[in-house]
């Protein structure tokens, strides 16, 4: 009985207007980044640039020195990929053991993981920083990767465990009967079946690590290794109202995430709606 009527069409138009007004900041972001230094100061913020000018992007991408944007992109990629790899490997192995075995210690471990998800991270930051500093894990990518694996493992284990519980044991039993070792059964049979879980873990962890500012600021503070958000913060701090350049940095930081988002938006949205419910 609910039909698509003229009223529904009106609602659709209204929702579109609201959405486009809501996304106006992103429009401002793009047009401003394409203006010349002169135009930023003289034209209205909503006006289109007279001609598309990529000089701000060129200047940002050719920046050098301690907080050079290209180097920080490389660092961010290394840290994000390293953290995802560790979280997928350790998270899936641990969740598999916890979900498939039913011993007291696996139950206890599962509760330890659940509480760690809820436990706020702030209080641990100072001791972690001091600990990392004393063993030389501050100011380098390896320390950041290990830190992120530690911080996000509970989330990874939890997500994998709920996927494993929904998977029948028949596949790995068949593999073992055919002569596979437990290791082979896991890596050749079970893990490939877990690709939806791996996708969710990679997306959630990747977003958190790539976008993080707080932890990078503390654990990489003052070192040669900077991630993109920290380099952006430092770079912008040195630019007074050069909004075309600031926005060029901002857009560069958004492109990888948005590219992934467009490519797999359903999985992003499902990952957030389902994954974070835990």
């Amino acid at each position: 009985m609910f039909r698509y009527t003229k009223l529904t069409a009106l609602r659709e138009v209204l929702v579109w207007i609201v959405t486009l007004v809501g996304l106006l900041p992103l429009y401002l972001l793009v047009v401003t980044s394409l203006k010349t230094d002169q135009e930023v100061l003289t034209t209205s913020a909503v006006a289109l640039p007279s001609s598309v000018d990529f000089s701000a992007f060129v200047e940002v991408l050719t920046s050098t020195g301690r907080n050079s944007i290209p180097m920080s992109i490389l660092n961010s990629v290394i840290i994000t990929v390293g953290a995802i790899a560790g979280l997928v490997l350790l998270g899936s192995l641990t969740a598999y053991v916890i979900a498939r075995r039913t011993r007291t210690w696996t139950n206890v471990t599962f509760y330890l993981v659940l509480i760690a998800i809820i436990l706020p991270a702030q209080l641990g930051t100072v001791p972690l920083y001091i600990g990392a500093r004393s063993v030389g894990l501050t100011g380098n990518a390896l320390g950041m990767i290990l830190l992120w694996i530690g911080i996000l493992l509970p989330l990874s284990i939890f997500l994998y465990a709920s996927f494993f519980r929904g998977l029948t044991t028949e596949y790995e039993e068949a593999a073992v009967i055919d002569g596979a070792t437990p290791t082979q059964a896991f890596f050749r049979v079970v893990l490939p079946l877990m690709s939806p879980a791996t996708g969710t873990v990679a997306i959630l962890a990747g977003l958190i690590v790539w976008n993080d500012f707080f932890n990078s600021l503390i654990f990489l503070g003052g070192s040669e290794t900077q991630t993109l958000p920290v380099a952006m913060y430092t770079y912008v701090g040195g630019l007074v109202s050069a909004w075309n350049k600031i926005f060029a940095v901002v857009i560069i930081s958004m492109i990888p995430i948005l590219a992934f988002y467009m490519f797999a938006q359903k999985r992003f949205i499902q990952g957030f709606a389902g994954g974070l419910k835990g």
Partner: protein
Amino acid sequence: MTVTTQDSTRTITVPPAARNTPPPRPRGGRKPLIQFGHWWWALPAVAAVIGVHYVATLTGGFFAFTNWTGLGDWDFIGLANFERIFSDPQLLGSVWNTLFLAFGSVILTNVFGLLYALAINRMLKTRYILRTLLFMPVVLSPLAVAYVWKFIFQFDGPLNGFLGLIGLEEFQKVWLADPTWSIWAILITVVWQQTGFVMVIYLAGLASVPIEVEEAAALDGAGIWGRFRHVVVPAIRPSIAIATTLGIIQGLRIFDQILALTGGGPAGATETLATEVYKQAFSLGQFGFGSSLALVLTLIILVFAILQQYVTRDRDAGKA
């Protein structure tokens, strides 16, 4: 055999009394048909979780009662750090700002997110495109989003330009340097970015409302409000619990946006516990005092997370 193992793994979530499957094998009984991996596979992860989450948090809780500066000697000084926090108007202000941002963002994102989810939930032909567009800000870095809004809130920026255009010059302000309005600027930035996230949670909840039930209610004469109140709200109650709990926890930890927009200024008007922890511990090297601020923040987060769970659960039980 297969079925037994499968079901007994679920004992974690299903209470024994509610199980209708055979109890797990007695200890020392027949070995399972196959071995599921090796037990030591869990070892590195368990060590990491205990170290990074439990040991670090407990150590931080201990530091909170000391005057450690990261170097040299330290003394156990009892509650002195906390006395200092609660007698310093600046730090008390940061506690209020923390709560203001958390509750403000939870209320606004939930109202806007739910309205938007309801608006696009049924019938609209382009609802998937709209959902994708509105969710887009969620995946962006909070710092990058904050810079976009910093531009908008500039004195010669688009917001004041717009106010001038529609003849509201008297409302033009230096938004980010205004002691009263700068915190609202931060709130707007956060709400703009997080609304899409809340919307997605509500869309997932709304998908569980069968269209037949809504139609039946409409046939029985229920208006839009009546259908919302008696059909939709009971069905999305779990979504409300999730969206508000996650929102409070995230809202209490807002940091990036403040550092980018105001840096805590003007004159500390937008400091929160998160920015104070950073400044005291890492800019000033007051590890002990910074830890005590972090402990206050942690306790606030835990209290609200637990309270939130309790309130939503209690209401569920009352309705059932």
